[in-house]
Homo-oligomer: 170 residues x 2
């Protein structure tokens, strides 16, 4: 299936000069969305994946069906002030300023192989921070899985030597 | 299955006096999370559901697996500035100030029966706004489906005469 047919280019979002890859047509086409989750599942089954972690909000759209399909725990990584229990966090740089990614302190067991899932790999900043958070908590990074990769932004280079897979690459 | 065993009470979050219902233990228990999605699927199969709409971020965790399971479109409802294409919006009141819920203008076909899904029904403000957004765009509200309902907050009264179902009620 040509998943690219379900991604809409939206020019000048979130700011002039940026061509945004809009996944809402994919979400609106059940056979295509299911195909994407199937393809992610197949990639995961060739590896050891003990748990899936994803950052809010779009990451949840792929990570939740995938975790259900694989029968593994789903770990939400969230912005400050969203998780109610004790959290551990990692700060990371944005284009302007910094942000933090939080995770519950009891989310990971030592040695667990945790797969990081997101809708889009751009510069890799958020996912590099997510990997740091997993490792800080005693987990291991099983790899990174994306629906879309903007390869011209070089995000892969920030993700270390872990396996990285994307369903669609631009 | 006793889903309540997978919900953690966190006192004084997000502010003193509030007992927060934390769903992360449910997400971390694949058999329980799958059971919740199964129970939601069964409820939906007894109705006409053409599409599922959910508000970021926790709503996505239940809505995405459910949309995949039912084979229906998933419509993300988002905070301002998140959706890249043309949007329609509804403003609604918070305890302090107001917020807006946005949806892409092409997300719904006229007459579609749209089910609204969220992790938690509290005062019902967000979901009442979501229903208004669906109807404004020409859709019909098929009902509301929640993992958890805090019935003492009376949210149901704000959701009109549509069917409302919750897996767990406190």
């Amino acid at each position: 299936m040509d998943l690219a047919a379900f991604i809409r280019d939206v020019p000048d979002f979130p700011k002039p000069g940026i061509m945004f890859k809009d996944i809402t047509p994919l979400l609106a086409a059940p056979h295509a969305f299911t195909h994407a989750i199937d393809a992610m599942t197949i990639w995961c089954r060739a590896r050891k994946v003990d748990a899936i972690a994803a950052a809010e909000a779009r990451g949840f759209l792929f990570a939740a069906p995938l975790a259900i399909r694989l029968g593994v725990p789903l770990i939400p990584l969230r912005k400050p002030g969203k998780l109610p229990y004790l959290t551990t966090k990692v700060d990371y740089d944005l284009e302007y300023g910094t942000n933090s990614l939080h995770m519950h302190v009891d989310a990971i067991s030592a040695g667990q192989q945790v797969l990081l899932v997101d809708d889009l790999l751009a510069t890799g900043g958020t996912m590099a921070a997510a990997a740091e958070l997993i490792q800080k908590a005693g987990g291991q990074v099983a790899g990174f899985l994306f629906a879309i990769e903007l390869s011209f932004l070089g995000g892969r280079a920030r993700l270390g030597k872990h396996p990285v897979h994307s369903l669609l690459t631009y």
